[in-house]
Amino acid sequence: MLVLGIETSCDETSIALVNNNDVILNLVYSQIQTHKKFGGVVPEIAAREHLKKLPILFSQLVKETQIDINEIDGIAVTKGPGLIGALLVGVSFAKGLAIRYNKPLVGVNHIVGHVYANYLAYPELRPPYIVLMVSGGHTLILKVNESMHIKIIGRSVDDAVGEAFDKVARLLGLGYPGGPEIDRISKDGNPKTFGFPRPKMYDPDYDFSFSGLKTSVLYEIKRLKDAGIEELPIKDLAASAQEAMIDVLLHKTTKAAKDFGIENIVLAGGVAANSRLREKLAEYTLEFNFFIPPLEFCSDNAAMIARAGMALLEDGKNDGLGLEPSPNLFEMIGDEW
């Protein structure tokens, strides 16, 4: 099945053409503006940017793939969660295309999209599986049963792990985004130098707490400074902080998988790119099968949306003109989709 995917839920504008599990082309508009620290995060600006970029990406996709849109089997667009103004740009554009080319149109849950990013690399992947969804905005453990029914079984009660990476990086004087920075310098650091706490590590639930970690790092830095150490051991601090976060992520995730008797564990989200996380999976590969999306598909992209949409289209689903964005899709139905 040939599917056109569109993603405009947050700050990344992306459009992709996916044929079954093969990504023909995945275009993500690169953020060029360096003077802006964070890019167009504000909803109104994000929406304006999507409206500018989406048509450009679409034209580029058509040009590079030489696709005749009449050939596609369907269109998949992110329905939510996300910023309402941003989502509307993608959904409205998708509707226009759907009407014009008379193609089925499905709205895709962004979180589910992240889960499906794995199918692009592992076509054989089948539920049930446990998902560890870790990004700037989300830290979740999901349980997905055979019929693709998704339940949130664990989440962060305060800061998301991606946020924790970013704030720790800032405390250490590193750039933004923090995750890749910490990842990079931790390679030369010693993860055991500092024993940062693993909050809620042994709680019986599957929830996380990361706000304590930033204070632990902050106070360690103070201690070192008070002790007269001028040149801080950034690498070790980074590696140790990272280790704490990775440990608790893996511990809770594998615990959930064991408790529910599920072998497959799927990673998703920007933090899934972390190399230490990927290393430490090795400790568990006897008991579990891990699935990590290719780097390109960890952060927000339209290819994962297209692949997630494909599952819906194969079931004959077609939201058509009635598709409306759900910015709170995540919360609106409680813990279930």
Binding site: F38, E44, G137, D159, E163, S211, L218
Partner: protein, 165 residues
């Protein structure tokens, strides 16, 4: 933190529990439309403060999460609480759009972490809570209110387990 602040209340060094308790009492002194800036370094307790604040307005503290990535969380308590975070904003320009696009409701209270980053935006009277790291388990907290509201806050905050200047 500036000294010699006339309309300030020094809460002193608080444990996490005391900080939340203060926040709870503080919430009941607020009026519709109030803007509260939370100013302090990473991990200094701003988000923790909001957890306490919502309990004073009938909500449970679990509903509070960090708005760093979401930019704004809205808690529907006895007053609507708009919990913002200026950490990722690029400056005033972004603030304009956050407030414009999101805030339809002129009622409610606005609590802004890292609000000091964008204080040039606030010409009207704001309430500011300052957080300073003391040690891992303690924070130093100061409250500054608009001068004309000093006596009212004094009366309102007189009850509870926290210290006052």
């Amino acid at each position: 933190m500036e000294t010699g602040c006339e309309s300030c209340f020094e809460l002193g060094i608080l444990t996490e529990k005391e900080l939340k308790s203060f926040a709870r009492t503080f919430s009941q002194c607020l009026a519709e439309g109030d803007v509260i800036i939370l100013s302090g370094e990473i991990g200094s307790g701003k988000t923790t403060f909001v957890r306490g604040l919502v309990t004073g307005l009938g909500c449970s503290e679990e509903i509070v999460t960090s708005p760093t990535f979401t930019l704004m969380n809205v808690y529907a308590c006895s007053k609507t609480v708009y919990h913002l975070d200026a950490y990722r904003l690029n400056g005033i320009e972004d603030v304009f759009y956050v407030l414009e696009g999101e805030i339809e409701d002129r009622n409610g209270v606005f609590v802004i972490e890292w609000g000091n980053l964008i204080d040039s935006y606030f010409i009207e009277d704001v309430i500011t809570v300052f957080f300073e790291h003391e040690d891992e388990k303690h924070r130093k907290v100061r409250l500054r209110v608009p001068s004309k509201r000093v006596s009212r806050f004094r009366r309102c905050l007189n009850f509870g387990e926290y210290k006052e200047q």
